[in-house]
Symmetry: C2
Subunit: 217 residues, 2 copies
């Protein structure tokens, strides 16, 4: 909900732009795997489901890409975006709440493609502690701070119930986490120097249902 | 990725605004359950993790709410937002892909709070067809169009692998679905008269990892 911006050179870039760049990179990799070498801004925009103006604007934050009338070299653009997003390095994260959604995320195979790796998962439920999910043993939530600090983890994913989310976020922040992806159906109050992204599945569906009702009237 | 706007009275409202209203409603319900009757715009904004300017702006699309200096009556505001979002009516959806993430969504207990109900789930994997998840039997994907049409479902949730997502979205659209929530790690190309919302867990985490790297430099 909060506006998260970061300085890149002299320009401020929002989390929304970074998320779009990340999805551009994902789709460029698919093109690369399919043997496409050069692509026009128009074709790329169509593939990405956005306007070519939006695409060029997003890239423009980070300097010149492509040549007018020639299009983009897929391999070069992929390499540049990979470097820009730091997507070549492996990034580990900690997950709190190994319930159904948390377990699904632990087992989410697409993460590997993004060089993202779950390093530790925690739960306070005795029935879940010690359980092995996709090779990862769920640890006791009381050890979260120590483990996060020892492993130097900076990203936390929250899949705990709504009422526990704020406290878990604060504990993560105190242990050195500086970016949180929150799946709990509640808002996490802003913590100093911590970026919070919220994904609330109910809110997503409810917003769509609003559009459905509007379409029917 | 696409800009989705809808006319409300004479003003255009984006999907982002509707999603924020939906999360305001979620948090107002919590306040109401906690016995809070009146709340100031400032306190509400703090709870919601946004600025009070943003909050007032979002509400302003839909006419006057609250009185200056008096604050908001929680019960009245909850009722108005419920009516506005049509959140009092039950809204059913169809889900394609009953893998780990799809199963987690089927079992997602918070949906009930939002009057959202999964009405049908489909998979093309023989090992999943016929499986009972939280009382719902996973149906054969080949019957999706018929079921969606018969039940008059308008919202589809896609949890299939990336390569199958576009085709599933097109089949849903042909059966009458007009709003899609896509969890597959790929972009769904714009379909006529269909709203698409994308939630890519990898993109979310990759965007956060960009901010982590920026913070480290």
């Amino acid at each position: 909900m909060t506006s998260r911006r970061v300085l890149t050179g002299s320009k401020q870039v929002s989390l929304e732009v970074i998320k779009r760049l990340s999805s551009y990179l994902r789709d460029l990799k698919t093109l690369e795997n399919n043997g496409v070498t050069v692509v026009s801004s128009g074709s790329l925009a169509e593939l990405l489901g956005i306007s070519s103006v939006q695409f060029r604007k997003d890239l423009s934050y980070f300097g010149p890409f492509g040549k007018k009338g020639v299009g983009y070299n897929v391999c070069t653009l992929t390499a540049k975006l990979t470097e820009l997003l730091g997507a070549g390095d492996c990034m580990g994260f900690a997950l709190a709440g190994a319930g159904k959604l948390g377990s699904a995320i632990i087992q989410y195979s697409s993460l590997q493609r993004f060089n993202i790796k779950i390093m530790a998962a925690f739960d306070s439920d005795r029935r879940k502690i010690g359980k092995k999910i996709d090779g990862l043993v769920v640890a006791d939530a009381k050890d979260m701070e120590t483990t996060v600090r020892t492993m130097g983890l900076k990203i936390g994913v929250i899949c705990v119930p709504a009422k526990a989310a704020q406290q878990v976020a604060e504990r993560m922040a105190s242990a050195g986490i500086i970016a949180v992806l929150n799946f709990a159906p509640t808002e996490i109050k802003i913590l100093k120097k911590v970026h919070v992204s919220n994904v609330d599945i109910c809110v997503e569906i409810e917003a769509l249902s609003y559009f459905v009702r509007q379409s029917a009237t």
